[in-house]
């Protein structure tokens, strides 16, 4: 028995559910196919943060647009996504980080972002683990955290309320195309879902989806490990990142390499500490390529926790209660998201490759994909994120 939908979405994480919502909002008939349960991929294994000040320059305007959507999202979805606009501090503790931070600060000011470069007095209030004050801090105010589970479920339930069909435990086995146009999605159980359009929001499994339609989608799993602490009293600054996040995440090696920095670099650790509304701190995060191996490794965990104490020495007596890992969907060509229609296959759209920025970019991704599918025009340009850019970069 076949069913027919305007749009079939593959993947029930934060991106897929956002796309489902924005499409349902404008009245299209939508089906979402999730192979496991909703939020079972990296959408459930992240820090729930969006720190525009450390994102790639190309993604920053999109992030701001997404944050603007988040500001109203709980009301719109009638579901509390626990949007918490904490702002964020990016901290330099080593000399080699200071110029990088200063340069970024100036870029952000140019772009019109409200950021503060701390003066000496402000710095003196925050001694690190070695009792020395931080060397430089950039404070942003628009950056925020959400509860990624609630974002995913909020989008999914709201989409359902507007008529979307959400199917879980529904892995896709085939995508039929006819005359170079998507025709239908075939689930593992054999059911055929005829879809006018197909959106691939399958995160690190996007390459497998691409194979079904003969497309090389270079998105691979980038493992990240996180640790969680017990609940503690709310901190004055609940979102702190190491300036290495700017350097490591973008492949810049520390210049004067000390042993500890080298170790962290080899583990791809960009230190990010975020306190959620309930009071737990999330401690992260590492980057390595281990396929789909979800196990944690003691050396990474210990290193991340040790590094935390360089920023928040008072955390020494706090207990970690658990740790886990997730796979960021990482575009191996340039690390940027893959968004929008694919010229080579009509009706096929990408909403993947968000790496470590998926939670932040979910609302805007959903909105832009919905715009592209319905009107062909998007409120923000997608040129930097289109599939076609990859061929010019091979």
């Amino acid at each position: 028995m076949t069913r027919t939908f305007d749009v079939g979405i593959i993947g029930g994480g934060v991106i897929g559910c956002a796309v489902a919502y924005y499409l349902s909002k404008v009245g299209l008939s939508v089906a979402l196919f999730e192979k496991n349960h909703l939020c079972s991929g990296v959408s459930s294994a992240n820090q729930g943060g969006m720190v525009s000040q450390i994102f790639d320059i190309k993604t920053i305007p999109m992030t701001w647009a997404s944050i603007a959507l988040y500001e109203e999202l709980s009301n719109e979805l009638d579901y509390d996504v626990e949007f918490n606009q904490t702002g964020a501090l990016v901290v330099a503790r080593h000399e080699y980080q200071v110029p990088v931070l200063r340069h970024r600060y100036e870029e952000l000011v140019q772009m019109g972002m409200k950021v503060k470069f701390w003066n000496d007095h402000e710095l003196s209030r925050f001694p690190g683990g070695d009792s020395k004050p931080f060397l430089a801090v950039v404070e942003s105010f628009v950056d925020a955290q959400v509860n990624p589970f609630r974002v995913t479920y909020g989008f999914a339930w709201a989409a359902k309320k507007r008529g979307a069909t959400i199917m879980t435990n529904a892995p896709v086995s085939q995508i039929r195309t006819v005359n170079n146009r998507v025709h239908s999605i075939i689930l593992e159980g054999g059911e055929e879902m005829v879809c006018g359009h197909v959106v691939c929001a399958a995160g690190p499994w996007s390459a497998q989806i691409g194979q079904m339609v003969g497309l090389d989608i270079p998105v691979e799993p980038q493992r990240g490990q996180l640790a969680i602490t017990e609940r503690v009293a709310p901190a004055e600054y609940p979102y702190i990142l190491d300036a290495d996040y700017l350097t490591t995440a973008y492949g810049i090696k520390p210049e004067n390499e000390d042993e500890a920095a080298r170790k962290r670099f080899s583990m791809g650790i960009g230190a990010s500490f975020a306190q959620v509304l309930d009071g737990n701190w999330t401690i992260g995060a590492s980057r390595d390529r281990a396929g789909f191996d979800k196990t944690n490794t003691p050396e990474v965990l210990k290193e991340m926790v040790r590094h935390l104490l360089n920023f928040l020495p008072g955390m020494k007596t706090i207990n970690c209660i658990r740790f886990f890992a997730g796979f960021r969907p990482y575009c191996t060509i340039d690390g940027h998201p893959l968004l929008g229609r694919v010229l080579d296959l009509r009706g096929f759209y990408l909403a993947t490759g968000h790496a470590g920025e998926g939670v932040g970019l979910a609302p805007i991704t959903g909105k832009l994909i919905a715009e592209e599918i319905t009107t062909g025009k998007t409120s923000l340009p997608l040129n930097d994120f289109r599939y076609e850019r990859l061929s010019s970069q091979h």
Binding site: T295, N296, T297, P298, E299, L301, F323
Partner: protein
């Protein structure tokens, strides 16, 4: 994978009844064994069991749990087991590598064989007032009175009439508290009748088909409201009773502490009467991951006697896997242990557990 600092033949996690027994068997067979426990004293639940055990002579029937614990420790030391206390095993990582934490110091320990004997934790019941000081697990109360020689309070309501609830009620009386009542939601007493008889003789009423509705008090428990329930555990209107108490003990079941097995990727099966999620194991107590064994309450909530036997079984199997025991000797010794285990899993109290254990063995590869 960074080279681990230490390697060991057999690492046993948890020095309770199962863990100590496993260590003894493995060490006696000639394996080098490290027994790790997060507490400052070994023995797990044994040293809280001040009552005389049931079973047969082979199970030390008639001997108090504390004595059995002391004897086991002696045997472990004699056998040359290295015991590491105050050491938390915080992770079971790839290649049978354990993450250890002792004070400020962490290390990795790689083992050829790991035996997980991490026991179980108490379930809890949420009701209005459940977070008031004075509400605690029955096991916690038992630790307070039998290890720390401190009464949690003077007037106790015990929720749950399984063996834990009945035994701890009795021990609270012995410690000088008054047990105002034992309430049980089922229409029958789940624990041994003789344990119930002891507290009935001491004047403690056992109210079946009853549950606690709420605990009340200003800064700690001052009273509890109980009511009768129907067979669907729905409170019956008009049957509320208020009891003046200062302590509310919850004896509402135990759940295996299975995080390490879960982390390692062992297969699990869900069996409610055994406590929930159980790591699947074979007749040698080996999980679905070669070289990782399990024993004791971790593999399903039973008793100290079954924990000791399962520990022995795992220890023997581990020794055999390392070549310290010949196939024949291993088979013979394991057969003896399995026979003794069977005698503990019969009768009205045992056959459900026997069935559950068979279910676990049969589920390998199918779940």
């Amino acid at each position: 994978m960074v080279e681990p600092m230490n390697k060991v033949k057999v690492a046993v996690v948890g020095a309770g009844a199962a863990g100590i027994s496993a260590s003894i068997e493995a060490a006696r067979a000639g394996a080098k064994v490290v027994l790790i426990d997060e507490n400052e004293r070994p023995g797990g639940q044994l040293f809280k069991q001040i009552h005389k055990f049931f079973g047969s002579e082979a199970h030390r029937a008639g001997i108090r749990g504390i004595q059995i614990g002391t004897d086991l420790l002696e045997q472990a030391k004699e056998a040359g087991v290295q015991i590491r206390l105050n050491t938390v095993v915080y992770g079971l990582f790839a290649e049978k590598c354990l993450g250890l934490m002792c004070g400020d110091h962490t290390e990795e320990l790689q083992a050829d064989v790991i035996i997980l004997a991490t026991g179980a934790s108490e379930n809890t019941l949420a009701f209005p007032g459940w977070t008031l000081p004075g509400v605690m697990g029955a096991g916690a109360a038992q630790t307070l009175i039998n290890i720390h020689r401190t009464l949690p309070g003077d007037r106790v309501l015990m929720v749950g009439a399984g063996n834990v609830g009945l035994i701890v009620s009795y021990q609270l009386l012995q410690a000088g508290a008054e047990v105002v009542a034992s309430v049980e939601g089922l229409p029958y007493i789940g624990g041994y009748g003789v344990h119930a008889s002891k507290i009935r003789r001491a004047g403690v009423p056992i109210l079946l088909s009853h549950t606690v509705l709420r605990a009340e008090g200003h800064e700690s428990v001052e009273r509890a409201v109980i009511s009768q329930v129907d067979k669907n555990w729905v409170p019956l209107q008009g049957t509320e009773k208020t009891l003046e108490i200062d302590t509310l003990c919850l004896a509402v079941g135990l759940s295996p502490l299975a995080e390490l097995a879960w982390m390692a990727g062992c297969q699990f099966i869900h069996i409610s009467p055994m406590g929930g999620w159980i790591p699947v194991h074979d007749e040698n107590m080996q999980t679905t991951l070669p070289g990782i064994y399990v024993a004791g309450d971790l593999t399903g909530i039973e008793e100290a006697s079954t924990a000791m036997e399962e520990g022995r079984l795992a220890g023997l199997a581990a020794a055999e896997a390392l070549g310290c025991l010949s196939f024949e000797e291993g088979a013979m010794k394991k057969a003896e242990v399995r026979e003794r285990l069977e005698t503990l899993r019969i009768g009205s109290f045992g056959k459900g557990r026997s069935l559950a254990k068979k279910q676990i063995l049969e589920s390998r590869g199918t779940v």
